[in-house]
C-alpha cells in the first residue's frame, strides 16, 4: 500500500511540474472554467430575478441567494473530483481508439491506478474557489438562514468528500465502458450534465425525475439533499443522510472498479 502511495505522489508531482511548465495555458483553462461558472450563475440570476420568488413544492420560497448557495456547494465536490480524475475523460473519449492505452497495460501497476495517477488538474481549484466564494457570499445574506449544528457540519463535509468519490465512481464506471464500446465519452457527458439539474431545488421537478436524480444518477443525494437540510428546507436526519451518502459512494466506487476491471479484460488494442 505504501508503495502505491509513494508512487502516486511521485506521479502527481511530475504531472504538476509538467502543467506548471505552461503557466499561460493553465491560466487560460482556469479562466475558461471561471468564465463558464460566472455565465451559469448569471443565467440563474436572470431567471430567478424575473419572478418575485421561486415557490418550491413542499419546501416554500427559495430566493436567489439560497439558490446561489446550492450552486456554490455543487461546485465543491465537482472541483475536488476534477483535480484528481480528469484523465478518465480522455479514456472515455479517445485513449482506447487512438491506441494510447496499450502502454498502461504494460505497466506493473493496475491500469486504473496508472490512469488516475497520471493527471492532476489545477483548474479544479478554480471551481473550488468560485464555489467557496459563492458559499460565503450567499451564506452571509440575511435571507439565508443556515442551521448550524454538529450533524449538519459533518453532513456538509461528508457530502463534499464522499460526493467527490461518488462522482469519481460514476466517471470510472462509464469511462470503463470505453474498453467495450471504444468511445463512451458522450455517455459520460450525459451523466455528468445531470449535475446541472441539481443546481436548482430538486422539488421543482416531478417525482420520476427526482427519483432519477437521487436514486439512479445520485447527484441530488450529495448536493441537493444536504443543502436542503442545511438551509432548513428539509427535516431529514443529517446523520442518516451521512450514512446513506458514505454507503452509496463506497458501493458505487466498488461497483465501478468491478465494471472497469471486467471491461479492461475485453480491451483490444487498435488494429487487433
Amino acid at each position: 500500500m505504501s508503495h502505491y502511495i509513494k508512487l502516486y505522489f511521485a506521479s502527481i508531482k511530475r504531472s504538476i511540474m509538467s502543467r506548471l511548465e505552461f503557466k499561460k495555458d493553465l491560466l487560460i483553462s482556469a479562466l475558461g472554467f471561471v468564465f463558464e461558472n460566472v455565465c451559469a450563475i448569471l443565467s440563474i440570476y436572470f431567471i430567478v430575478t424575473s419572478i418575485p420568488a421561486l415557490n418550491v413544492p413542499g419546501q416554500g420560497v427559495w430566493d436567489i441567494w439560497q439558490i446561489g448557495f446550492l450552486y456554490g456547494f455543487a461546485m465543491i465536490p465537482k472541483g475536488i473530483d476534477h483535480l484528481f480524475t480528469d484523465e478518465l475523460w480522455l479514456v472515455a473519449y479517445r485513449r482506447v481508439t487512438d491506441g494510447s492505452m496499450d502502454k498502461e497495460f504494460m505497466r506493473p501497476v493496475p491500469v486504473l491506478f496508472s490512469i488516475i495517477s497520471q493527471t492532476f488538474q489545477p483548474e479544479g481549484f478554480s471551481e473550488i474557489i468560485v464555489g467557496a466564494a459563492m458559499l460565503i457570499i450567499c451564506g452571509l445574506q440575511p435571507s439565508v438562514t443556515l442551521i448550524w449544528n454538529v450533524g449538519n457540519v459533518v453532513l456538509i463535509i461528508v457530502a463534499c468528500i464522499f460526493g467527490a468519490i461518488l462522482i469519481t465512481g460514476i466517471k470510472i464506471l462509464v469511462a470503463g465502458l470505453a474498453f467495450v464500446m471504444k468511445r463512451s465519452g458522450p455517455l459520460l457527458q450525459i451523466m455528468y450534465n445531470c449535475i446541472t439539474y441539481v443546481k436548482y431545488p430538486k422539488n421543482i421537478y416531478p417525482y420520476f425525475i427526482r427519483v432519477i436524480l437521487v436514486g439512479i444518477i445520485p447527484f441530488g443525494l450529495i448536493i441537493s439533499m444536504p443543502i436542503e437540510i442545511f438551509l432548513g428546507f428539509s427535516s431529514f436526519n443529517p446523520w442518516v443522510l451521512c450514512g446513506i451518502i458514505i454507503g452509496a459512494s463506497i458501493v458505487l466506487l466498488a461497483l465501478s472498479i468491478f465494471v472497469w476491471t471486467l471491461c479492461a479484460k475485453k480491451y483490444e488494442s487498435t488494429g487487433n
Binding site: K24, S29, F46
Partner: protein, 281 residues
C-alpha cells in the same frame, strides 16, 4: 473558385456522417435537457403573477428552447478551432501554409460540409416535425400563409449567416491557438461566450440588472445572430410591419458582423503566422 474547395466540403460531410453515435447522443441529451428545462420554466411561470415574462409566455419559451437546441447543434457543428489546433500541434500547418489555397476558405468549406450534413439528417427533419407539432397544439400561430413563408425564408437566410458567423468566430479562436497550446481552455471560453451571449442559455430579453436592460447592447453583438435571431425569426407571429423590418435589420446586422470579423481574422492570421512555431519547425 469553388471547385478547388469542393473536396473539403465533401470530406466534412462524410466526416459528419461517420459519427452517427455522436448525433444519437446529442438527441438523447437534448430530450433530457428539454424535459428538465420545461419543468424549470413551469416552476418559474407558476411563481409569476404575469403570464408573459420579458416578452415570453410559457408556450413561447418552450418553443424557443426546443428550436434553440436544434439550431445550436446544427450551426455549431464545425470543428475549425480543433482542426487548426491539431494541425499546429502535429506540425502539419507548415504544409498547409505553402499550399495554393486559403486556410480560411478550407476551414469554411469543411464546416459547411459538416453542418450541411447535420442540417440534412437532423436539422431539417427535427425543425419540420417540431414546427408541425407546435402549430398543431397551438404553441405557435401564424397570421397568413405569406407571413409563414416569410418566417421560413428569413430563418433559412439567418441560419446560413449564423453558420458563417459562428465559423468566423471559431476561426478567430482557432488562430489564438498559434499563441497558446491551451485549445481546450480557448474552446471552453468560446462556447460559453457564444452560448450565453447568443441566447442559447436564456433569451437575451432576460438579461436585466434591475432596471438596466443589457439586451439593448447585447442584441447588437455578433452572438445574437448565431442563435437567438434565427430562432425568433422562425417562431414570431408576424402581425406588424415593424416585425418584418426587425428581421431585415437582423439579417443586415449579421452580414455586417461577418465582414467585420473576417477582416479582423485576416489581419490576426497574418500576424499569427509570423509567430507560429511548429514541432520541428
Amino acid at each position: 473558385m469553388f471547385k478547388k474547395y469542393k473536396p473539403f466540403f465533401k470530406a466534412g460531410a462524410i466526416d459528419a456522417f461517420a459519427y452517427k453515435a455522436a448525433i444519437l447522443t446529442w438527441f438523447i441529451i437534448t430530450i433530457v435537457e428539454v424535459a428538465c428545462t420545461i419543468f424549470l420554466w413551469y416552476a418559474v411561470f407558476n411563481n409569476s403573477s404575469e403570464a408573459v415574462i420579458n416578452g415570453f409566455a410559457f408556450n413561447q419559451i418552450i418553443v424557443y428552447f426546443v428550436e434553440t437546441n436544434i439550431v445550436s447543434f446544427v450551426c455549431f457543428g464545425g470543428e475549425t478551432l480543433w482542426l487548426i489546433s491539431k494541425e499546429i500541434k502535429e506540425g502539419k500547418i507548415a504544409n498547409e501554409l505553402i499550399k495554393p489555397i486559403s486556410l480560411r476558405g478550407r476551414m469554411l468549406m469543411t464546416t459547411l460540409g459538416i453542418v450541411g450534413m447535420h442540417m440534412l439528417i437532423i436539422g431539417l427533419p427535427l425543425i419540420t416535425i417540431s414546427l408541425v407539432v407546435f402549430y398543431a397544439i397551438g404553441f405557435l400561430t401564424f397570421t397568413s400563409i405569406g407571413a409563414l413563408l416569410f418566417s421560413i425564408f428569413s430563418f433559412a437566410i439567418l441560419v446560413t449567416l449564423s453558420i458563417i458567423l459562428f465559423d468566423a468566430v471559431d476561426y478567430f479562436f482557432g488562430v489564438c491557438c498559434f499563441y497558446t497550446t491551451s485549445a481546450w481552455g480557448i474552446n471552453l471560453a468560446k462556447n460559453v461566450i457564444v452560448s450565453f451571449l447568443g441566447g442559447a442559455a436564456l433569451p437575451l430579453s432576460f438579461f436585466k440588472f434591475g432596471d438596466v436592460d443589457l439586451s439593448v447592447v447585447i442584441n447588437y453583438l455578433p452572438f445574437a445572430g448565431m442563435v437567438q435571431n434565427p430562432v425568433l425569426a422562425l417562431t414570431t407571429t408576424y402581425s406588424s410591419p415593424a416585425q418584418y423590418l426587425h428581421v431585415v435589420h437582423t439579417i443586415g446586422l449579421a452580414i455586417v458582423w461577418i465582414i467585420i470579423i473576417e477582416v479582423i481574422n485576416h489581419s490576426f492570421f497574418n500576424h499569427a503566422i509570423k509567430k507560429v512555431t511548429v514541432q520541428g519547425g
